[in-house]
Symmetry: C3
Subunit: 159 residues, 3 copies
């Protein structure tokens, strides 16, 4: 560590906090349907992989958001669910970085906060013009898995 | 970013971590009934808005704590509930700052940790004599809302 | 704060983030049965106290892990439970540090993420050859307590 200059060391600390912030922003923008904010977190050619598929570029990501999850933006405080981010582990490598983090998706059920879904984000980041952007995020549903989630959802619809 | 001096950049990093710490301290002091510690997090004329009302100044906040939530301090490990803080998003502006964060209130029910309440803190901070203090915190109950919470509580009392 | 040099201040910020990272790594290594990684977080003579007992030194910790919790390592994404870390409060003191943090243990039950256990870590850290290591961690189960947990578990086994 001592071989790094003060400037380099400070930059690394700033980088780590900037990426932590993106992890939080992603959740808040997603939960509040702030699609403009959400898309801006990605690099222009950034890739978002979720249970629905893989989307490359802000236009494709925006089009996906306008589909099944579409609808007008809401103030965060009005939203009846949110992603709680924990356990982010960030690895810096110059103008690139990677991170793995956990999320717990909490929603309202019977007037109570209920943990409905636990998952993991596996990310790559890139610094573009001095700002960190998501180069690639893979959002995985772990508990339940996506297959289980669909089964739960379909069984509800059928009943 | 490069136009800021090393000193300014380092100060911003320290500021962000100091405010993150206040967010944690608030929960720990509240949960362990450490009212002295809790009140000291606020600026002398700091404002605390919660479901009960709005309280300005440490004396008013202390008086409020001594009421419905009163009782002797407990060691954190003895407490059967806690606020888990996540998703803090801190904005720095010199000697002022603001933050929005989430909390999940976990309590013991049937010997299990149960998510009883999810809410949001909307904060303003001020630096006084080099130390960050809460200038204003609005604590909102979202899931359930306060009205719902009272309904749940009252229905239990009546049954 | 101003009496500290830039170097000292930057070191403190790095120290805080390094210890935060150990708190995350501990959970991820434990949940994914990465015993080599887990043991490496401790100082050579580090002490781990959990509900099973107190273990000093990496060999004793590894032997304990190979017992009731033994089994091959798994990729984190395959694991059906995880520890979510929150509310870490880190105190730095040169080459020593301490921290208290909360964890919520989330596991799969009926295909849903369920909060099964809430607890607290009380830690001491030491810097060895420039790297922070756990000198002592006391892992406490609070909700339910260990006695309650055993009662719950035993009642299930008996039924």
């Amino acid at each position: 560590m001592s071989s790094r200059s003060i400037e380099e060391r400070l930059q690394r600390v700033e980088d780590e906090l900037a990426i932590q912030r993106i992890i939080f922003d992603y959740s808040v923008y997603l939960d509040s349907r702030n699609w403009e904010g959400f898309v801006s977190l990605f690099a222009p050619d950034g890739v978002w992989t979720n249970v629905e598929g893989t989307y490359q570029g802000r236009e494709a990501i925006m089009a996906m958001l306008g589909g099944p999850n579409g609808g007008p933006a809401e103030a965060p405080k009005r939203v009846n669910y949110y992603h709680a981010n924990t356990n982010w582990r960030i690895e810096l490598d110059g103008d690139r970085a990677s991170a793995v983090s956990r999320y717990l998706f909490v929603l309202r059920r019977d007037d109570r906060p209920t943990s409905a879904l636990a998952g993991q984000y596996t990310d790559e980041y890139v610094r573009i013009d001095g700002a960190w952007k998501i180069a690639r995020r893979e959002a995985e549903e772990l508990i339940p898995t996506h297959a289980e989630w669909e089964e739960i959802f379909l069984s509800k619809v059928r009943t």
